[in-house]
Amino acid sequence: MCLDNLAVQVEGLGKQYRIGERQARYRSLRGTIADGAKAPFLRAASLLRGQAYGAASLRAEIWALRDISFEVKKGEVLGIIGRNGAGKTTLLKVLSRITVPTEGVAEIRGRTSSLLEVGTGMHPELTGRENIYLNGAVMGMKRAEIRRKFDEIVEFSGVETFLDTPMKHYSSGMQVRLAFSVASYLEPEILFIDEVLSVGDAEFQKKCLGKMDEVAKGGRTVLFVSHNMSAVTRLCERTILLDEGGILYDGQTQNAVKTYLKTGMGTTAEREWPDPEKSPGNDIVRLLGVRVRIEDGRVTDAIDIRKPVGIEMEYEVLKSGHVLVPNLHFFNEEGVYAFVVNEQGPTWRGKPKVPGHYISTAWIPGNFLSEGSMIVGAAISSMNPVIIHFYEKDAVAFQVIDSLDGDSARGDYAGPFPGVVRPMLKWTTDYRG
């Protein structure tokens, strides 16, 4: 094995965090006072021993990463996926030296940049021009380098006219555009990126994805953390699937995405309101839960584009005599209102629901949604007169994933596939000549 063509080598890497323990429920006042009096001294002692981890008593320990080993070749674009809390960001933070590992070794060969956020270090009181320099310097660019790329950065961001305006007067979209423009002109040999594409408006996102394509093809080594399966599938040949701090799968992106899909490691796919006092609703109806289910009944946030997906609403009717119509609102990751659905069917149409416990599910057919995130708002309304009993925006979210097996509506085309929906239509082609 020639070590020379490796950019990143990770061996047995682990990171332990200490998290605050919950306090015991019953404590005597005397004990509390005594502990309170002792605490500053105990803390001061632990501080001097160099073991302090903040003023809270921190005893519980969790491994955010454990036994992580992998290698990345020069020029390889590696995707890192996994549900929230799987350790993706921690891994990038360790590799980019922001935090120190608890065990293991990592070797990085080459100039690195980490993009855990765009616009780090930017200050609202400073002008766009000043912030380009400041942000560039924070991201590790040299002054001469920034000066050389300045015009290009400004052009890419499209904020020329506001260059000498303090950034606090920018719209949030403009701020993100400027920040991303600086980031996209970083020229490291190894780049760590964490989910930065989830910002900015649709048009700018497209521009950024294009830029990412360019970076990936430019022979640079990239470690790319994302929830956007379509972006990962498009940009990375190889992907690591993390789960609970360990590597669950390391290999071809398609397989990694499939494994992610199969294990249904979703978190945003279920929302519950166990406390009726705090649940959305009024004295007529209250929401208990919203879930994203697939045909076999599992709750998951990773949906195969070819398979149907059911959005389930669980609610409690408290007063009789009301016609209650559950409805669901679908938005894509760019915030576009994709569609709305109302409860259908003869059983309940125009009929009041008696008090009790209900579950209503709307099934979206397979080969209908587009790839990417779908954010679902859940509401229950009455018609004539129109009353909205509750509308829970962003109740659940899920990812529609095209594993590029060739039998989705995408066919054999592997590039970007625009559109809010991606229906599988019946085509007829007759040979007429």
Binding site: R43, L47, V138
Partner: protein, 307 residues
Amino acid sequence: MFRVKGKENRERKENATSRVTSIEDLGVQGKADGVIKTIRILPSRGWVPIKLKDIWEYRELLYFLTWRDIKVRYKQTVLGATWAILQPFLTMVIFSIFFGKLAGLPSDGIPYPIFSYSGMVIWLFFANGVTLSSSSMVSEANTIKKVYFPRMVIPISAILSGGVDFILAFIVLLGMMVFYGIMPTVAIVWLPLLFLLAFVTSLGVSLWLSAMNVMFRDVRYVVPFLVQAWLFATPIAYSSSLLKGKWKTIYGINPMAGVVDGFRWAILGVETKPGPMIAVSSVVAVALLISGAYFFRRMERSFADVV
């Protein structure tokens, strides 16, 4: 072959964890197509070297952070940078009324206003540095959590940014010297060194406080009190000539006593020539800086996790 399994793997790990350095720069390896920098990331425990080279490498960032602090400091204030002058000037007026006129404190044979103002100018550089710098790690929390750079750059830049305020207040001091007809002596060549001593003291204290502030926000409440008490323990309102012989040397344990005394001597040429006292002050200041730097480096590794 890098990948090792089982027992061998464990040994390797133990080997790695027993290392002291956190991030060891293996240096630059020559390569045909240029140079490739290799970074080894290892767990870190205990005391670690200060690595001045790292800070030097990030000197441009230091420059930009200082520049930002200067630019931002007086934004949205009506009086702007005038505050840099008003702060010491108004304190001088109050001191002159209460300590100079009413209490009749001695001022080494020069008019009391310029006596107290000159002390105030260098004191404020120190005190504002400590105040800004001790909270700097917390106010830069977001940056610390998102980007790597030697963390020490932050408290250093916070103190350096006070340099502009110092220069402005110093210009007023020169004006006052003209007004009172005081000519500087050759001793003025020591001025940069005394300024450096004030910087060293400020940074030493700030490194201790800013690192502690990350863990214990109590520091925020301690600092104003500390600065105020320190002000009265330093010969600004009064002259160190109140102390004689041995006691004056011991007084030098407060490094700012040496700085203020020396500063006054260098610029105004008062008779109180710094003797053994400033030597004591210098030793204490350097000790503060070195211990502070080691303490800071020791705490540094957990900053991003805790702040």
